[in-house]
Structures are given as structure tokens and as C-alpha cells.
């Protein structure tokens, strides 16, 4: 099975929303700031539930936040 990579645009989306801080995003989605840092850096792939919550905060579909590359 080829290794899949999931990239994300969280940094960009935070910037577009008036430089929302990682801490603010973490508090709004219910995770730690360190998890947001890890997700942004591509070191941790969030669960579907967390991915949807993040997309919900930005008000965009989940595929606009996360992209799947094979």
C-alpha cells in the first residue's frame, strides 16, 4: 500500500482569519495547542472528528483544510 500524505492549509486559514492564534483554534476545537502545532507541521494526522471541527471553525468544507496525496 503506498504511503499516503495528508497536507493542510491551517496556517493559511488562520492567517486569513486575522492571524487567529494556535491557542485560540485549539480552545475552539477542544484540543491542546501542541496538537494544533503537530497537525500544522504534518507530524500528526487528526481524527475525522477533529478534522471536521477544525474545518467548522474556519467555516469551510473539510477538503479545503486537508488534502490527501498518494
Amino acid at each position: 500500500m503506498p504511503k499516503a500524505e495528508i497536507s493542510n492549509r491551517i496556517r493559511r486559514l488562520r492567517f486569513d482569519r486575522g492571524e487567529m492564534t494556535q491557542e485560540e483554534l485549539a480552545n475552539r476545537v477542544g484540543c491542546t495547542r501542541q496538537t494544533i502545532i503537530a497537525v500544522e507541521a504534518g507530524k500528526y494526522v487528526p481524527s475525522l472528528s477533529l478534522a471536521f471541527r477544525i474545518a467548522g471553525v474556519f467555516g469551510v468544507p473539510v477538503e479545503e483544510v486537508f488534502q490527501y496525496k498518494e
Binding site: Q34, A38, P46, S47
Partner: protein, 145 residues
């Protein structure tokens, strides 16, 4: 640093501290005197039970900065703990097998093992368990940073 990471460092400290304290006690009073030396046995018991209690208390600590409502443990922390627990299980099993093989080979001729080793196995199992979980958590965070 997440609360779980802080707890892991504390666990590492407790494990290393317990190991050094027990090692120092056995070196100071002599392993061979374990059967006759009630003080040595009492110190070993106190260190083991004390270390276990301190570790147990650290598991319950939930510090929160005043005025903040942030999440303390999330799905990534739980995933790291799950993997660290597997590492802990394997480390304890490995330590038990090492003890079993070493004692069997050394005392094969005598067909019996000194009773002190029962305590040493229990103590080492406890220390390995605490250290393996703490190290597993810290490695997990390093990989997912």
C-alpha cells in the same frame, strides 16, 4: 509542554530516583544480607511502596493555569499513551524473561534461587514499568512534534 509530557518527566524522575535509592541501599548494606537484615528489607519496602504511591499521585495531578480553560488531554495524547503502554508491556515482559533466563542459568546447579530475587524482580518490574511508560510518552511526543 503538555500536561502529559510533564507527567512523563515526573515519572522518569520517580523511576530514576527509585532505582538509584534502592541501588544505594543494597550497595550500602549488601545484597547478601537481605535475608538477615530487617532494616534493609524495611527500607526496600518503603522505597517501593513510596515510589509507587508518588507515581500514583502524579497520575492524578491535573494542573490548570489560572484563568485558562484549555483542554489538558486530547486525542493525540491518548494515542501517545496507548503506544507507550504497549512499549511498557513489552519492556516489563522482556525484563521478566531476562531475570528468568539469568537466574535459571546462574542457579541451575543449586536447584533453588535465593529469596532476595523475588523482591528484586518485583522492584525491577515496577521500575521498568514506570521508566518504559515515561520514555515511551516522551519519544511519542518527539516523533509527533
Amino acid at each position: 509542554m503538555t500536561p502529559l509530557q510533564k507527567r512523563a518527566w515526573l515519572g522518569l524522575g520517580v523511576g530514576v530516583g527509585m532505582s538509584l535509592a534502592i541501588l544505594a541501599v543494597f550497595i550500602a548494606r549488601g545484597v547478601t544480607s537481605f535475608d538477615d537484615d530487617l532494616v534493609l528489607r524495611a527500607i526496600a519496602y518503603v522505597l517501593c511502596v513510596g515510589g509507587l504511591l508518588v507515581y500514583g499521585v502524579t497520575l492524578r495531578i491535573k494542573r490548570r493555569k489560572p484563568g485558562r480553560s484549555e483542554v489538558l488531554i486530547d486525542e493525540r495524547d491518548k494515542e501517545i499513551v496507548r503506544k507507550a503502554t504497549m512499549a511498557q508491556l513489552w519492556a516489563v515482559l522482556l525484563s521478566l524473561f531476562i531475570w528468568a533466563i539469568a537466574l535459571t542459568e546462574v542457579y541451575w546447579g543449586q536447584k533453588s534461587i535465593p529469596i532476595v530475587f523475588v523482591y528484586l524482580i518485583a522492584i525491577s518490574g515496577l521500575i521498568v514499568s514506570i521508566l518504559a511508560q515515561a520514555i515511551g510518552i516522551l519519544i511519542g511526543y518527539r516523533r509527533m512534534r
